[in-house]
Symmetry: C2
Subunit: 993 residues, 2 copies
């Protein structure tokens, strides 16, 4: 194929969208981060008026500047923005057509719609859709806008944002953009590279922070002034200018976390003001662009009512396929769970008999298959209860008004009414015979409700039905035998036509009858069954890794995601430049797995410069796909390289002071303040964990000191998920001890491997818990913005897994002293209770019985490791065959004490008052046993030893006698037994007590 | 023709220019006033690299905002910008092709290239070219850039800037842009009108001056910082932002004249910094886009040397046509003057005999026609003078070294040398015979020099010849008989092909021979002769006015311009909405004449709602042309209407305080300060002019008070030439007296009609003269930036024409007292001398004899009216027949006094010392005459009366006798006669004295 030029792409897209009825407008005249900010999008998607527009938008994102060194990332990239409002019904197909117009044949590539939940909090906007990947490269964002400037959108707009540089790279199979033709024989690099360098330098190094702040303030004030005057577009211009200033400041690293929120709040407020004013303005103008509404809906309704139903005399196969635009991977599973739960009950409710039921979900279809569905409901006789008999007939035995009404309502002859005994009373009743309805009729009503019952965590609207779903529904196949069950839901009517594989152009495929469905689908190359897809992927990935001389790292989470991204998996092997292997392993893996959904390959625990991608489709032109994927991975690694190279110019230690510009929380100071507190607390935590000797104490001190430093590095700023890992990596490169580095890198793991790592993690988490609780930020209900539940689990779990004793109460107390705000006793108690609550959850997750956990936690929770030991031992006792008798014996002691309102305290016992031999024996036995215990075993061994004496005692001795002294003495004896468990476990919480 | 949409125009232009090898880029991401400011122009036109680019540029000009009410004028209009570098040789033709691609057929319209000297001092840039008019509407600016950012351009770039809104209006024959289609069925108004309103309001009313000033300062500081770091594009961005801020401030009326200069200086400095840095950067990069230079030049040289010449045996007609792109009207005349002066001498120098010589110039051709040019120069014999004879031969008579050298140089046999008498000495001489060269050969050398000799006030370069001309030369016809005289100049070679009329597509037309030239040209529809064109225009305009029932206002200046704008004049009648007749007459005329080059039509001194335009071409589709012209005139009037309507919301008086924001001069304060000074001085000027009574004094005071107020109105800001006129108009509308209004409106006329007007004008001018002289700003040499020469003439002339006596010295003295800076005696003297100098010029222009003027001015100049009366009277005396004797008699008195070193003072005369009768008689006669005179007549009557006595005296009496007392007495007597002229005239300056 001849090479394309940048301007050809633009001219072709202009022509394509112009010929598809779009207005072609121009880029905006002030710096914007994306075409979305152009009023042709931001304003025009608001309100009910239709709007179809396409334009180029050179988009400025200062922090993406790479001095012209990265092949894919620039402070200025060129978007081609398309808005279709309302949704034309086939926007994906239109989009794929436009790619063809550019010369991108879907058959020769791997084009993927990858879930993307677009959100722009700064302008209070969100939408759902996809990143479109071309051979692994994101070339387009495709979004159904749901909200803009805080205003819910109705109708929804489809936004298609092409990344033109990436498309050119892909079209020309180039390594980088710079040497590709811009147009007229001039390279893109000639046009833009020097400028890219200059702007990168300006944004990262030169921009004067104070001056840009001052600009921001001026712009913001002008925006207010414009809004006050109802000058919407001028106000919007200044919002954009504010936003650009913010971006510059952010790139200069001049914005603290707390400030960021303030900036966002301010810009969001302005953006909302603009959006709301615009809405009012258009309303005032009576929506000039609004005409010919509702026609399509009517057309749909007609289509629906025109399908006649015929009777089917025998049980038939039924198939329902809900055809959707690409679902997010997790929603593929959600849909599966929803239908598999619902359909069973539904059939019962509908009173339809059936054979096997199966469910399948792929990114593009949700399938319910029912074998031998009965042709109709059985006939039914229902007894319907009417008014009480004494009110149904008058003195003359004639039906009253109430009875007549009941008869009429149930379509009965009043003369046939008679009284019956129902629920112990006399009532008029009627036997109503109901003819079983034919199954097709039943389904016509039931299927829309079935679709409706499928709910997702996040859902979206797309057309004027106003119905929400994970992604737009585009077709239904609904066949009972060979008959279409006609229904309409979400503006889509059912039929017998499905669509084939995306890479084959989603051709329409007619399903002749329900029982042919699976054959047709398989023939179309679609693997409907998730397990089958999974097995195929694993098989192919393993084979591919073999070819590369290594083994694939197949992580279950990734596998589960990938299997839900494709309908026909084909492994694609690729490689990258070996020099990137010098990057931290976690960076490499993170990029491959999280960003690209590749399976990494390793040999002897060392990564190889290879990866395996899974293509949706067959292996035609697989080389193109490989090259594309290699290019994008190379670019991503180059980007990481850029950060690492920049970062390692300083030692890790040198990043620590920079933490002062990151806010931890306004009441609790900066991250540097937190780091300083951790330094104090760390030593105490070490002591509480029993750390001794320089070997433990020194690395702990150093690790705590450096723990948070990596938050100030560019790599972590860019890939937050690598916090700690990067710190550890940089620690090593800065010459720190391996132990220190390990502790740093482990600190965010729930359970660090090393003890020093545990100490660092505990220090961090306890500081957060204590500080944030004291600041009044304890989690409430579902809200846990600071992740304190996770922090508490992260306190408990390492102590348990490492079986380390620890005094939580003391730790909290000491942390309280380091906080910049007072931490009340009450707060400390709350914190400990909160942690205990998490401990309970952890124990539950470990599989212990509820009663056992309750029993131990009632007595002890401040030393989680000890708690677990106790729970384990108690569980073992509870499982013993003789447990019932042991517990029973002990329980009798406790019960009598409790019912007498007596104390389990160790009261004085007078031997003189003993009357029966059995009480003397019990007392003797008791004195032979220890009275304090280290653990549950010791305690219960004692209890068990006492059981014969206890049993004998209760058999022979009456406790609650008249003689008060004797009674009290006996209660004291029994109380001593009952009190043995104190501080170890409360056995009364156990089952069978 | 189907209607066009805005986006179609853009898409068609993109396609057109892309297919002609242009890079297609995008609008800039920050507000610019024009596409020129986009770095794709501003930077890329610098340096030697080729560059061809085209892009849309939405251009923001705040002060063009009209709240969406004007059909043609917007704060944002859309440019389509094309840069061709170097000049492709046919940029006009390419441009006309592009119009055809848009559906504009030149045959159906009047397309005109109207001189435009583009200059942007704020970025130190200039170029020459045209506004392109489509039926009277400017739709494109076409410029050959000569300088950018202070850097001279080599090669020159061609800039073509289309005004897309105007083109759409023209294409659709629309009244306004708003209801035309933008694209996809949406109107332009829907897309932009509300926003246009909002931005207009923002720029005119809302923008906060202090904040925008603060933005400017910040941007300016960032620009410096970027430049210091070599960040060229970021610096340029901030220059643009500065510029936009300046524009906002200007629109808000917040910029004083003095400040404006400072802003310009600052922005210019920055722009220069950017341009220079860019130049260095590209040089450092070794000009990556530079390749394949110089090929074209070589091709041209070859073409030149390949034309053989043949001999013509008889005298033939000769024609030279220099074909150019449209010359400015004044340059058409300049070229005429240049060739008509030069060719005569040239032929003499070349020694070629010839018949009639004629010259013709049109906007596109400069023609020299010579009849019967001799086929060759005559042979010549020249006597060449050698060394002196005594140095040419030695003692033996042999030639010396000197003689031998002379012989060799002149190619002579030394033996033939002989001495001759030359210039009174003896020299060796040689007769050198020179064969006359054939005329073709002579012309080959002479014609380039002839073209070179045509110089213009402003000229430009366009191709790599580096040669400058008024506009690019595109062809030569050079024919002697039927033979082409081959030459090359400015990269163009001569031939026998001319080009036809622009509206016919400038077809190539071959001229078979020189004598056929005029027939061919006439046949092509071209009126070569200016006088013929002029006559045709006058004839057509008169006829057209007749048709309209009025008479055309044919002003000579306009006629002379129009005649030089076309080659084939056709009158086009048009009309405008009668409601516009409510606009001030001067506004209407000014717009029609200055802006549109139309002839206005009036009836009984009142304007009609008609105009007459002159089209270049025939009358095909003249309706389209008329409609276009009507549209543009309507839009211009609407614009004026806008200003007037805005302006008259305030009374004229209310504009006066706003003068405080206009600087008169930094040393002399604001225009309000000046106006306050005028108020004081006005009363005194009135007194000096002898104004008496409330009828004179009151209107004068009011008129002076309001005189400058209109400078603060929008109408005057927009059309400065209407200052005063607008003031008068608004005065009437504000309810001022007619007399006051008249005085205000007349104040800028050299000679106001009304006396009050004269007083106002004098007050203004004297204040300016005194103040600016005191500030050290007297004119020097050719420099007179404040127009003080004109001011001085404006002092003198009205006094003369109204014959009003006035004491200039006193007026200057009183004005001096009102100035904010000291005005020394010396300065006052200088001012009076300066005014006297102008008075002398005025008198000279009135046709008086130099001596007479000198004679009077030597005695009096402070009362110009008196001076003129004196000059007139003296002139009458000088013309009398007996003048010689009168003067002679009087002169004898003066001469003897002067030669005796005696005084002309009135010394005491003693009758006792008289000896001769004649001296007694003279004394007696003298005593009979008055001794002081009101005017020259009185004086000279006296002198004349004395002449007989004087004559007798000198005949008989010897003045210079031995007796000292007698001598002194006689000298006193004669001195008294001589002293009569004191203060009236110095007759010694007269001819014949």
């Amino acid at each position: 194929m001849p090479k394309s030029s940048f301007q050809e792409i633009i001219l072709k897209l202009q022509d394509f969208w112009a010929s598809h009825g779009c207005l072609i407008t121009q880029p905006y005249y002030t710096q914007v981060g994306a075409g979305t900010m152009n009023p042709a999008t931001f304003l025009r998607v608001l309100g009910p008026e239709p709007w179809n527009v396409a334009y180029v938008e050179p988009s400025v994102r200062p922090d993406d500047g790479r001095y012209g060194e990265n092949p894919n990332r620039f402070q200025l990239h060129t978007q081609y923005q398309v808005i279709l409002k309302p949704d034309p019904g086939n926007p994906q197909e239109l989009y794929l057509e436009s790619l063809k117009a550019l010369g991108i044949d879907p058959r020769q590539h791997d084009i993927r719609f990858v879930e993307d939940n677009w959100e722009q909090p700064a302008i209070s906007a969100w939408g759902l859709g996809w990143e479109v990947w071309l051979d692994g490269q994101e070339i387009t964002q495709f979004t159904y806008f749901q909200q803009m400037g805080g205003v819910a959108l109705d109708p929804v707009s489809v936004e298609i944002t092409y990344g033109l540089e990436r498309i050119l790279i892909a079209l020309n199979n180039a390594k980088a953009i710079w040497n590709e033709e811009y147009g007229a024989g001039v390279t893109y690099g000639e046009i833009r590279r020097q400028e890219e360098f200059e702007h990168s330098k300006y944004y990262f190094e030169t921009a004067d922070v104070e001056r840009v702040r001052a600009m921001y303030d001026l712009f913001s004030a002008e925006a207010d002034a414009c809004l006050a005057q109802g000058l919407i577009v001028p106000a919007h211009d200044y919002v954009l200018k504010c936003s650009h200033c913010f971006n510059i400041l952010d790139t200069r690293g001049a914005i603290s976390v707390a400030e960021r929120q303030a900036f966002f709040r301010r810009i969001r407020e302005l953006a909302k003001g603009v959006a709301v004013s615009y809405g009012e303005q258009r309303k005032g103008l009576e929506y000039p662009l609004l005409k010919d509404e509702g026609k399509r809906m009517n057309a749909l309704r007609e289509a629906k009512s025109s399908a006649p139903l015929k009777f089917i005399p025998h049980p038939s196969s039924f198939i329902l396929e809900i055809g959707v635009e690409e679902l997010p991977a997790s929603d593929v599973d959600t849909a599966y769970a929803a239908v598999s739960t619902r359909v069973q009950t539904l059939l019962k409710e509908l009173n339809l008999t059936h054979g096997d039921i199966r469910f399948f979900t792929t990114p593009r279809r949700i399938v319910v298959s029912i074998d031998s569905l009965s042709p109709n409901q059985p006939d039914r006789e229902d007894l319907v209860k009417g008014p009480p008999a004494d009110k149904a007939f008058d003195k003359d035995g004639k039906p009253t008004q109430a009875a007549l009404g009941f008869a009429k309502k149930n379509n009965l002859d009043p003369a046939t009414l008679e009284a019956r005994e129902i629920d112990g009373g006399k009532y008029v009743a009627a036997v109503v015979k109901q003819k079983g309805r034919p199954t097709p009729e039943v389904l016509v009503d039931a299927l829309p409700k079935l679709v409706e019952s499928i709910k997702f965590e996040k859902s979206m609207r797309w057309n004027d039905s106003g119905i929400a779903f994970s992604r737009p529904i585009r077709w239904y196949v609904a066949l009972l035998g060979d008959m279409v069950i006609p229904f309409e839901y979400a503006g889509v009517t059912s039929g017998n036509v499905t669509r084939g594989l995306r890479p084959y152009g989603s051709p329409d495929i007619t399903i002749p009858s329900a029982d042919k469905y699976f054959d047709v689908i398989r023939e179309a190359g679609i693997l409907l069954d998730k397990e089958e897809r999974k097995a195929s992927i694993v098989e192919q990935v393993k084979q591919a890794a073999d070819v590369m001389g290594g083994e694939a790292i197949i992580e279950e989470g990734l596998l589960n995601e990938v299997v839900n991204l494709i309908e026909m998996p084909t492994a694609v092997m690729g490689g990258f430049n070996e020099e990137f292997l010098a990057l931290p392993r976690d960076v490499l893996i993170s990029v491959m797995k999280k960003h690209q959904r590749y399976f990494p390959v390793q040999k002897d625990g060392k990564l190889l410069a290879h990866f395996i991608a899974i293509r949706n489709g067959d292996d035609i032109h697989v080389d193109t796909v490989r090259q594309g994927n290699e290019h994008v991975l190379g670019a991503r690694f180059a980007d990481a390289n850029f950060f690492v190279r920049e970062d390692v110019k300083l030692k890790l230690e040198e990043y620590r002071p920079k933490l002062s510009s990151l806010t931890f929380h306004t009441k609790l100071g900066s991250m540097l303040d937190k780091s300083d507190r951790m330094l104090k607390l760390g030593a105490e935590i070490g002591a509480l964990l029993g750390f001794k000797g320089v070997d433990m104490i020194k690395p702990l001190g150093r690790a705590v000191y450096l723990a948070k430093a990596d938050l100030a590095t560019q790599m972590v700023t860019e890939m937050t998920s690598l916090q700690g890992i990067i710190g550890g990596e940089y620690a090593l490169r800065s010459g720190e001890d391996a132990e220190v580095a390990k502790a740093i890198s482990e600190q965010y793991q729930t359970v660090p491997q090393s003890k020093v790592g545990v100490a660092v993690a505990l220090t961090d988490r306890i500081d957060s818990l204590v500080g944030l609780f004291a600041a009044g930020l304890a989690p409430t209900g579902a809200k846990d913005p600071f992740g304190l539940r996770r922090a508490a689990i992260g306190v408990v779990q390492p102590l348990i897994e490492h079986d380390m004793n620890f005094d939580l109460a003391e730790a909290v107390k000491r942390s309280a002293k380091t906080q910049p705000i007072p931490v009340s006793e009450e707060a400390q108690k709350q914190i400990l209770e909160f942690i205990a609550g998490r401990l309970k959850v952890v124990l539950g997750d470990m599989g212990f019985k509820h009663g056992v956990i309750e029993a131990v936690l009632a007595a002890q929770s401040n030393n989680p490791a000890g708690t677990v030991r106790a729970v384990k031992q108690l569980s073992a006792w509870v499982d013993r065959e003789d447990w019932a008798s042991t517990l029973d014996g002990f329980a009798r002691c406790v019960r009598i004490i409790r019912s007498a309102g007596a104390s389990e305290q160790r009261l004085e016992i007078s031997e003189k008052l003993f009357e029966a031999e059995e009480e003397k024996n019990l007392y003797k036995a008791l004195k032979l046993q220890p009275s304090t215990f280290n653990n549950v075993n010791d305690l219960l061994t004692t209890v068990a030893n006492l059981i014969p004496a206890i049993t004998a005692f209760f058999d022979k001795v009456m406790v609650m006698v008249e003689d008060e002294k004797v009674k009290q003495n006996r209660l004291a004896l029994v109380g001593q037994v009952a009190g043995l468990t104190k501080g170890i476990a409360d056995l009364s919480k156990l089952e069978g007590f």
